[in-house]
Symmetry: C2
Amino acid sequence: MRVVRTVLELREALDYMRMGGHTPVGFVPTMGYLHEGHASLIRKAGEMANTVVMSIFVNPLQFGPNEDFSSYPRDERRDLELAEREGADIVFIPGVEEMYPEPIRTKVSVDSLTTQLCGASRPGHFDGVTTVVSKLFNMVQPDYAFFGLKDAQQVAVLRRMVSDLNINVEIIACPIVREGDGLALSSRNVYLSGEERTQALVLSRSLRETRKAIEEGTVRTVEEARKLLESVISSSPLAVIDYVEILSFPDLETLEGGSLLSDAEGEVIMALAVKFGRTRLIDNNVFIPKEVHALV
Amino acid sequence: MRVVRTVLELREALDYMRMGGHTPVGFVPTMGYLHEGHASLIRKAGEMANTVVMSIFVNPLQFGPNEDFSSYPRDERRDLELAEREGADIVFIPGVEEMYPEPIRTKVSVDSLTTQLCGASRPGHFDGVTTVVSKLFNMVQPDYAFFGLKDAQQVAVLRRMVSDLNINVEIIACPIVREGDGLALSSRNVYLSGEERTQALVLSRSLRETRKAIEEGTVRTVEEARKLLESVISSSPLAVIDYVEILSFPDLETLEGGSLLSDAEGEVIMALAVKFGRTRLIDNNVFIPKEVHALV
């Protein structure tokens, strides 16, 4: 595994791999502090590509002024061990100076898909994501790029960007990885106190129970599903709901509260953002109501 | 020469050339209605690259609602003859449907360099340019891209975009090509009546005379230079000035009116936009005052 810190070294390392016929190239962009979710992305990349590039960069552009950029957890040594163990070929760890040698004046923005859900609570966040991912795609020129579905909105936004701008990469969305007790893995879980960690289980539990109620037919409308999600989450005294939304996926359009889930075409997302103390957690479940309905 | 009309055909044609070792790839994006200025770009591309791709696409995104998108001159047959004669290998002529199969929600914008000069008179114009050029760069993945210096601001904006987003292409700026009498070539010159065409010569004449006055030392400050440009242009009764500006290049920063041109570091641009009837023409001259001064 090669560790590179400059764009020039990265391009050289990639040229070397391509020259040797080690294509296609798979790319896993991360902000580091890697966990089993990231590991699953590297493994998936290894299945589909002959060169696996991972980047580790905590991108200041996608953090708001009152967000956790400076305190975002970092552990380079552990990250490199995990990357090596899981089979990454090249790890790109640029400093902020290398990514933004001068103040960046160019912005890549997607004007739909970014105003709802996390876009509403985090203005400018997705512009920061699409801009840095554009830069990384231009540096790596991967055939496949791997993202976790925990950031489902990010996946939707990046797919739209890739399609709109004719970027020659396929976005591969990978399933959410969870702890044994259901908590979705997140680098931010490290912020949680013991009590917050316990209460945060309401997120996955609300999704599981609502999904089950939909399958059993006791929840039939969008509004009933949202109510059930909210009531499970509210059973935690520490939970402060940012949003609980049920939208079409991946176009993230509002579904009428009174409409039957079984009438929804294609995929639907139940998406949650909830604060526990100062830590904001997200979780979601994407499913096809028509298929769930068929199970009943 | 191959003529392709879809992104898929374009990528296949490029793969074929690359497979055959015909690299580097040079790219000349145009809006068609080609003239000797475009021809000079193709020839320059032929000198630097082993595959020359030209695109012809009148991009609706970079025209304002009251601009000349629908009346912009088009002549595909003549364009293809010129492209073939000058040595293009691949000509990409997509329809609007091929470039924008669904309404585009992604925008690439450069937030400096675009508010002055043509950016002030044509709000949104440069966002349209940077977005479509991003798309074309992603389709062609050229090593070099060739643009005429007549659109000097476009060159400055695209250079900034390429640098900010780490796009792996070198922007090659080529000199303005002029008629024998000095008129800068433009597809829009076809709009001019005989009388407008004659009076439009004040643009190049104002630049030439001001340049000469600077060389001779009779014009020394930024304000004196601007005054001289304006007075020559105003000698045409049909000329309606949009802007006459003297800025640093390529960062397009304002120079103090009272400052000596010989104090300016690096390059300076004298940039003009003037309307004759309904036709808006631009012209400019980029020079290094310190070198001009040395000549005196």
